[in-house]
Symmetry: C2
Subunit: 100 residues, 2 copies
């Protein structure tokens, strides 16, 4: 299983557009093969700073997602809104511990 953590910061003028875009991406991505979790959220300490939390069945599924035209368009839209710090990091999940 793949765990992925992404963040981005929207300029204030584009914060609402970014919220709406992230909601749409989440709804679409959750329909894709291998997508086990796709949550979009906003940092409680820093409005306009967003978190994307993903879980995928495999890296192949995540790469298939990333290669979709809609994903390229979304990344272009992100850049078009002046967002320059989009970062996404993925890890293979190792031993799991249920904390609570």
């Amino acid at each position: 299983m793949i765990l992925s953590h992404g963040t981005l910061t929207a300029p204030e003028a584009h914060a609402d557009a970014t919220r709406q875009m992230l909601r749409q991406i989440a709804q679409a991505t959750r329909q894709e093969t291998g997508c086990q979790l796709y949550l979009v959220s906003e940092n409680l300490e820093t409005p306009g700073h967003f978190v994307i939390t993903e879980q995928w069945a495999s890296m192949e599924d995540m790469q298939t997602h990333l290669a979709l035209p809609a994903v390229g368009e979304a990344i272009a839209a992100v850049h078009g809104m002046g967002i320059t710090d989009l970062t996404i990091t993925a890890w293979e999940a190792g031993t799991q511990t249920q904390i609570m």
Copy 2:
């Protein structure tokens, strides 16, 4: 390295108190040994649903955090606000891929 994903849902009457509590927990926890990331955020699709994203240097560091009296008090406060779905799952991080 440990990756942790937590979620909880606050009743509407306690949503603001939960936001404030999560901010305080984040600020305090980031000072702890081995805490590499502690982000608290709110689901853009479901207000009142919160996400806790943690990274720890080791499971020992995370367990030391979880054993702190302040953490026990925070969990008691969560339950006191009628939050019944607090879940936290941690994984050992495997191979890392920088997606973007």
